[in-house]
Structure formats: C-alpha cells, structure tokens
Symmetry: C2
Subunit: 337 residues, 2 copies
Amino acid sequence: MQPRATLHDVARLAGVSAKTVSRVYSGSSSVSPETRERILEAAKRLHFRPNTLARNLRQGGKTATVAFVMGDIRNPFYFQVAAGIEQELTKNGFTMLLASTGDAPESEPVVVDALLRQLVRALVLIPIAGDQSYLEGERHLGTPIITVDRPANDLVADTVVLANRSGMAEAVRSLTALGHRRIGFISNPSEMYTLTERLAGYRQALAEAGVADSSSWERLGNDRAISPESQVRSLLDSDDPPTAIVTGNNRATMGALRELKARPEEIALIGFDDFELAEMLGISVVAHDPIELGRAAGRLAIERIEHHAGPTRLIEIPTRLVKRGSGEIPAPGPRAD
Amino acid sequence: MQPRATLHDVARLAGVSAKTVSRVYSGSSSVSPETRERILEAAKRLHFRPNTLARNLRQGGKTATVAFVMGDIRNPFYFQVAAGIEQELTKNGFTMLLASTGDAPESEPVVVDALLRQLVRALVLIPIAGDQSYLEGERHLGTPIITVDRPANDLVADTVVLANRSGMAEAVRSLTALGHRRIGFISNPSEMYTLTERLAGYRQALAEAGVADSSSWERLGNDRAISPESQVRSLLDSDDPPTAIVTGNNRATMGALRELKARPEEIALIGFDDFELAEMLGISVVAHDPIELGRAAGRLAIERIEHHAGPTRLIEIPTRLVKRGSGEIPAPGPRAD
DNA sequence: TACCGAATGTCCATCGTTGACATGCGGCTG
DNA sequence: CAGCCGCATGTCAACGATGGACATTCGGTA
C-alpha cells in the first residue's frame, strides 16, 4: 500500500518546484498554460489530491464544513431539514458534518464539542438540551450558531422556526368560520416550544371567536403512556364533545385518524404537518416545507460566515392551510353562537 | 474577537511545556495528577479545544470521519439509510460527512473528490454514475469503499443491498398460492439494479407457478412521462387483465392505490416498500428496514477501517412480507391452471 | 541599452499537535 | 555506593500546504 502523493511528489514528477504546484492548486498567481498542463498531468498520474487538513491548518482553521446537530435521527422531519441545509451548503462549496444527539439532552454538549474540534465554520443546531449557554465561548470566537425549529435557551443565536402560532390560528379560524366553537386540540408528547406556540395559536383563534376557555378540549399528551387515539376517545366521550379537532403534530394526526375512522360521528379534522397520503384520504392540514426550513438555515449560515456582522435574526417559515375536505365539514345543528 | 487558544497557550498558563499538555489530551503517557489538574484548570479557563485538523495532519491523515454520498437528498429512503450509518458511526466515535449528488451522475466524482480531500477514513456510496472505476486509485490507498442499495460498476467494493429478488419472489408466491396467475408488475422509472432484481424475483416466482411469459403484464415505467396510475389503467383495461398487482417501489404503490380506489374491480395488491399508513389502509407490502441497511453499511465501514483484510463482501438485508389484507384477496372464479 | 513584467525558483516560517529522543531525579538492587 | 530503572517532563523536528520576501531568467519594449 503506497503512501498518498503530496505536492512534492507531483512537483518532482513534473520537474517543477513545489511552489509552482501549489500555485496551480491555490490559483494565487499565474502559471503558464504548458506548465499547468504538465503539472495536472503528473497529478493525475499520481492520483494526487491536495490535503485539505494541511491547507486548512495553514490557513488558520478556515474549513469548508458546517455542522448540523439534530435530535432523534429517525425523525423524518429532521432529515428534511438536513436535506435543505445540505442543498444550500453544497451550492456554496461547503460540506455538512452531521451528528445526532439521539434526543438525549445530556449528550448535546458532547456531540457539539466533538464537531467544534473539527473547526466547523458554523453550527446549525436543533436544541434539545435545556440550556445552550455552553456555546457562549464559541460564539465569541466568531462561529455562527443557528438554531432550527426552536430557539436556544440562554444563548443569543439566529433562529429559524415555522410559523407555528399563526399557522395553527389560521386552521382554527377556518373552523370557527364554519360555525365550530367546540374544537378539540390533540397533541402527542412533543417538543415544548412548538407545542406551546401551536397551542397559543389555537387559543388565540378561539378567543377571537368568543371562546375564552378551551381547557376542557385540550389534550396535550404530557404523559407518554397515553396514545393520541385514547385522547381522541376521551374527548369525544366527554360530556361536552367537540365538533372539530385540530392536532398538534403528525403523530397526533395519525392517531386521530385511526380513532375517527372507527367512529360514527362526523368530526371535522385539521392536522398539523402534511403527509404523503393526506391528499388521497382528503385530510386538511396545516402544511409547511421542512426542506425550506433547512434551506433558510443553510443560507443564514453562509451569510453569517461571509459577513459576520448584524443583529440576531429570527426567521419564520410560513405555513399553508391545505383544504382537502376533512376540515371543511360545517358545525352540526344550529350555529352555537 | 480573540484567537482560539492552543496547546501552547494552555501550557504557558499552566506553567508546563506544550508536550505535557498534549500528553493530557492524548493520554499517551503518564502525567502526575497535580500537573494534570493544573492543566485542565488552565484549559477550561481558556475554553481550549484541541485542534483536530492539526492532530490528524500530524498523524498522517487519520481522521475520524466517514463520508456518505447519496443521490436525491429528498428521497426519504436514503435518509433512513443515512440515519442507520450515523448511528453506527457515532457509537464508534466517528462522525459522518454527508453529501448528495442530486441524482446527477456526472456530479458523483466531483462530490466524492471533495470528500476524499478531507481524508475521510471510509467512503459509503449510493452509486449513481455509470462507472465507479475512478475510485480504483483511492481503494489502493487503503480507503474502504462500501456501496449501498446497489453494487458499484467496474470497481471491487463491499456492498450492502436489500434482498430484492427473494423478497419480491416471496410476495408473488403468496399470490400464486391464492390461485393468481395473471399478476401485473408496475414500476416507476427507478434505479436499474433494484428494478431488475425485483423483476427477476417476480418472473422467477411466476415461472415456478407455470407462467413462463409474463411480459404482457409488465409495466416497467421506462418513460418518465407515464404515471403509475396510467400504467395500472392500461393494464386493467387490456384484453387480458391481471387479477393481482405487485409494485416495484413506493411511488408505484401510491399510484396503484389511487387508481384502484377509483375502480370497481377487486384486485389483489402487494407493494414493495412499507409506508406509514399501510397498516391503516390494509395494504400488504414487502417491508424492509432501511435503517438496518444503513447500520450494516456503517458496521462494515468500521470493520474495514479496523482490519483492512478480507475478501469483498456482499451483504443482503432481508425483507419481510407483511400481510394486511390487500394481498390476501384470492383469485376470482375457477382456478386458471 | 536599460528596464519591465511574467513565470518560476529558493528559502524559511507557519498553522497546532505529536512522535522520537533526551534529561533529571529519586529509589531500588547487589 | 555504583549502576540501573522508570517516571515526569522537556526539546526538537515533522506532518503537508502555503505565504512572504526575494532572486533569477527571458522575451519584449521604450
């Protein structure tokens, strides 16, 4: 197994000095076309590839990699986000270092530290630990830090999130416009921030329609042992059952679907998060584009790498209410104004 | 903006030589407890983080990263694979560099080259270019190369694939056991290798049941302009319509579902690839575990990094026929033996 | 003729870390 | 007490590429 070819090997074979080879690869000053040709020829023969480690080291740790740290790696949402980030990075000549915390808050600093040792040029993070203040030092060293899907805690950082609140409010408003007042909110145990935002949007829209207290229709799924199905069941079997339901996320929608399918009632349903068969099944949803969320984060990272300046930014990715039928069932009976 | 602290800064503050600090971090030889304590104290105060670039350079390019190159980044299948790879890598102290070719064959060598310059310790690749012989040189330098989902062309490399052929054969056999003989095969334009394998499994199982020529029931989707829906339509509207259909991949299943839903005929259906709502909809499928596919690739990469030796390996990840109803509809009328 | 710019070379330093080797010192053995 | 051992630590060069400062050669031009 022969060792990897270096600049010097190429120089020797091409009969030039190492400096000239370096000039060809870094494009710093001019090299005559014939020499360049000869060098590239030699490089090809030796399978030469410039050593990025050495170059980056020499240039003071200016790598072309950006780290993305996400939670549970099996969550398709995060991967969509990753896809968006990767698209933007690649387009700009950066590559992505990917790591996951496995949804264990205590592993976040460890994983992040390992990546920062590689001198990534920016850090994109889906915060999972309760506190990101450990990144304060790195931020002072000039590494852009961008959180996605939710803001960081105890750290000043750019943030890209979905329009959770307004998206949910829009959905609920479309239901109140059809006469619904008793609207259930079902959620899975899920991320605090997005849940509270969506819940706030729900309450706000209900308040606008004159419903001040919705607590008896809220099923927030704080207990992991309770399935969304059973929450829908308890809601519909209660004394004052809702005529419509909104769900706080994908899995809650799936649960609600399963339960509603097994029941005679005609309940309006709008889910948060789109899914592949929603169209075929006629399910109305608050759709959003996770890839775009990632793209926005990627663009922001690159912008920050190129011009550090500027105040912290919060970007909201808009959602879209997609009406497919399930959310357009009017409230039964006389309008309960 | 102060510069990053180095070993020397820590050494100066702790009143020792840089080498001693290095020893603390690399754990190579012993340092007295008091000295170690003093050094860690100084390091913490300076927010010191060892520079991986320098370390790896010094150690002859032995990084702890593995590259994964995939095709279309929006394909959820690939991300599941990526998740599996990442799991195994992280467990073993490696991190993953992720890049996509955007399904453009000509960009594969470019993307791969960029990653190899970073001196990755292994390359996991979903081949998309027609020819991977350009990796021959790198292979000789000792970099393990592992292809996933399909074998490389013109390159000796370890490979991890699904049991496409036997999985499809099992599905078709379950249909022939129910009396079906006229079984349609629908595919989307998709990757050559997996398609031909699945098709071979289909033909083989039909042959076992005495059907020698199935070509009139095959719709291979070579033309991107033709939707799976219309293929199902043309199949069912033909002179000799099938009584059952198998699909070659997820998107073909979706198309078939849409079309079958709109028709009166009761056609048995088994899809290749599982999907979220398949259970609710009662769709039988040939299921497989993309995460496991990734894990196997990750494990193989690590094994190769640790002990290079050994002949090339081909690993097949088993599939599982999941019966949910749609594939258990018996053939109508008298058995058409 | 003298000067100019382009193309290339020489030489050395540098990025941050570590391997090879050296040093100093206290303790144990014969 | 000489001689040796091993621990804790230090010195120096090297990993591969590049930047700076400068020298050299050569053909062209004022």
